[in-house]
Symmetry: C2
Subunit: 498 residues, 2 copies
């Protein structure tokens, strides 16, 4: 067997080991009896150990080097070698002791963060956050793949992205968003958000979410939908992608929009072309591209007037006749598109959302580049927050303690959320240009054409192309936030009667 | 670290690998989307390969030999070494090519059996059955642990049991059972079985089964109950044992008695003492002892008058008021204890059940010892069946094609089912002698004392003692079928008004 096929075979086994670990994770969140977390975490450790040992084996190192010498590899094979190198280097460059120290520290750090958040007391978290920062800086130094430490960490989640590139994108975005938000919030005709905080029977919410997700073409022959405390998507084989949904009895949005969001992730994972099944390329191009798919479904499609032209009558007549008896389509559509500066990122609307990310991006950079100490974070956060949102943070649980990411050392992850929105708007604009009747499809409950477009342009390729290359391939230009701004203005000014 | 601790550590990792494989299996039966069986089977293969390679490693072979030289091992440690040797030899003695051939053949054989059963056409299955027999004989020859080939295979499921020992037990049992069945079936006052084949709402059946299983002390902190096509019990860590239930809308028995049966298995697995958690001893002593626990709960406890004295009013008043409005406790109790010779083993009552097993035991012996050819099995089966049950087998799907076992090469497994009934009656008789008020407990819905007895005498020990030794330890005698006969006579003569 030649080197490239041997490499494929080795990474197919690694992929399968990762799928098994993913099942352990899925089951932990969906099924695990409360008394068995310890046993499960030992199993996860074993799988990680086996996968790590396989990855760093001499055999794999040699195979990658051999394959890198082959000059006439086709697109897929050369992408495989590129990703194999990336994964191999990552495992090899970080010493086992550092991996173990991070694993141990992040458990303690997570516990401290939970307590700190609950009590809104940063001092509980500060020493462990400080330790996590130190360890992540160490990781960035060992990896040394980017022009700066923070860029190296960003690259873990968004291959090819750098701090300065994202900064230039965000710098253009920030003032325009602030100005749009000013306009919207000074409107005299705002949506009635309270429609969504009535009591919605959980069983009916669940059934409705199942109906919607099926209409979006989530194929239960190759996946399932379950309930969990935190909604997520996971892939357990090339033919098994699972989503979860969280229902809130007193708030309609999380159940349905969470389901649509996860469905967007799942359709991506379900759409990889057969050739890359079970390979290292059976994965999203990046966190940002993944998020572009989930948020495109959740927001651009799922919060559109046309979408609800189809689904609102179903929702009202078949599920919530009483609850929604005084609500019409227009009021409902406006309510689900309420824009309101608020403290909590995960509850933010799609307009203010990016500002939450920009705040974190700026602070993360300064943390990792050693410009601020962990102890200073709350003060800096609150100052920046007030400038951006015009709101005073009264407690750190509404401020820098709200997100789990830093407690696990995930610095560089946040920007991918905003990149996802931007990628999504740009790709969707291309879809609309090529298929102007997409919104008419939605009115009829038909989501086949949008999925066919995404399968063709995004999904099938998996990790073959790097994120920026993929977007360029599809739209013929680099990431351009104009599309997002245009989308926001065209959508929200009418909703706010501006 | 000394050899014994090293051995423990190695086998703890093996145990955890087995638990991970068990999760893959559980998920396959409970959750797997229909399109993803292939991906899953590849994952199972990988786990089996990893486990096998670890087991047959030189390191483990050496450790076992070292440990066998230690003279002063305590009971637990020496049991660990014994079981490690058993498992190691099993993996080492059977060549990989044979394992692969069995795996491949059993897939084809299973498919052929399914088709043959569906069409009741033995000729479809015969060539593959013949091949499976050949391969299992090969396995027995390679293992060579028992006095005869068939004994060697029996020992895989029931350590220490031999053909001649089981034969002597069954020879004593057979005529006595036949005579009891004759008496029961000639009674003029038989139970009204049709009570159970009314329409029982599946949701209510499920809820009732959950209520019963909880009362029996199944602890959902350390396990769960789900639905599956074939009910089973599986353990996914020392703190995670799961059971499944199958509901039949038109037949009350499978749902509830299946649940109680699996609960009996689960309580055993949940009751291992902490010292043996995650070790090679965290397992049932044998298939027979395991079955003794499940069938004790299902039949001796779960079909007793006292059990239903507590549960029948609940069942009738809270679940099936209309369905059972014309049925009283006595009629219900008689119905669930109907004895009736019939063709299908899995539907058999507890009196005729052993005859189904004896039939298979006799035929299996002759197959493995080369006394009959696979082509002759249907004729021999039907002749023997008519002698034992007085019924003529009209189609092989009601005869030798009914069970899945032989298609997978599981020769020697069947006798453990009957041994389970016998072990169960003998152990329960000891429990009753020591705690005569157990039946009074059940009337009050109290199952703590029986569980405490079983935990103390059976469950906590896991695989520390060999099955026959365990029974001797508890009851001071070797397996004695008198207890089963006595139990049957005392229970069924009154039910049949004899």
């Amino acid at each position: 067997m030649n080197a490239i096929n041997q490499l494929k075979e080795e990474f197919t086994e690694i992929r399968r080991l990762q799928y098994i670990t993913a099942l352990l994770g899925w089951d932990t969140q969906v099924n695990l009896p409360p008394g068995s977390y310890k046993g499960r975490s030992e199993q996860v450790s074993i799988m990680e150990k086996i996968t790590h040992e396989k990855l760093i084996s001499e055999k794999i190192g040699k195979l990658i080097s051999e394959c890198e010498k082959i000059s006439d590899l086709d697109t897929i094979d050369s992408a495989m070698v590129r990703e194999a190198r990336r994964l191999y280097d990552h495992e090899v460059k970080i010493p086992t002791e550092l991996v173990i120290e991070i694993a141990k520290t992040s458990i303690l750090s997570h516990q401290a963060w939970e307590k700190a958040k609950e009590k809104s007391d940063f001092s509980i978290f500060e020493p462990l956050l400080s330790k996590m920062i130190e360890l992540e800086i160490e990781v960035a130094k060992k990896l040394d793949t980017g022009p700066t430490l923070y860029s190296t960490l960003i690259d873990l989640y968004e291959p090819g992205a750098t701090y300065s590139w994202i900064k230039s994108v965000f710098d253009g975005l920030k003032p325009r968003l602030v100005s749009i938000i000013d306009k919207l919030t000074s409107s005299n005709d705002k949506p009635n958000f309270s429609i969504l905080t009535r009591k919605y029977d959980p069983k009916k919410q669940w059934d409705f979410s199942v109906e919607v997700v099926k209409k979006l073409q989530f194929d239960t022959n190759f996946g399932r939908q379950d309930k969990s405390v935190h909604p997520f998507t996971t892939t357990l084989s090339s033919t098994d992608t699972r989503i979860t949904t969280r229902i809130n009895e007193n708030f309609f949005s999380p159940g349905i929009f969470g389901s649509i969001h996860e469905c967007g992730h799942a359709l991506y994972e379900m759409g990889f072309k057969k050739e890359i099944h079970d390979t290292i390329l059976a994965d999203g191009a990046s966190m940002g591209i993944h998020e572009s798919q989930s948020r495109m479904y959740e927001n651009i499609i799922g919060r559109s007037k046309e979408f609800w032209t189809h689904f609102f009558p179903i929702l009202k007549n078949n599920y919530f006749k009483d609850t929604l008896k005084d609500v019409n389509l227009d009021e409902f559509h406006r309510a689900i598109n309420t824009v309101q500066p608020s403290f909590i990122r995960v509850e933010a609307d799609e307009v203010t959302y990016a500002l939450h990310i920009i705040l974190r991006f700026e602070i993360e950079h300064d943390i990792i580049e050693g410009k601020i100490e962990s102890a200073e974070i709350p003060t800096i956060w609150n100052e920046k927050f007030e400038k951006l949102f015009g709101l005073q943070v009264m407690k750190d649980s509404d401020g820098m303690l709200q997100d789990v990411h830093w407690s696990g050392g995930a610095f560089g992850y946040f920007p991918t959320y905003a990149l996802g929105n931007l990628y999504g708007a740009q790709i969707y604009s291309d879809a609309l240009r090529k298929h102007p009747s997409l919104p008419e499809d939605y009115k009829k409950g038909d989501f086949t054409n949008i999925l066919a477009y995404l399968r063709e342009n995004v999904h099938q390729h998996g990790k073959i192309y790097q994120p920026r290359d993929l977007v360029k391939r599809i739209t013929n230009e680099d990431l351009n936030p104009d599309y997002f701004i245009e989308y926001i203005e065209n959508k929200f000014y009418p909703i706010y009667k501006i």
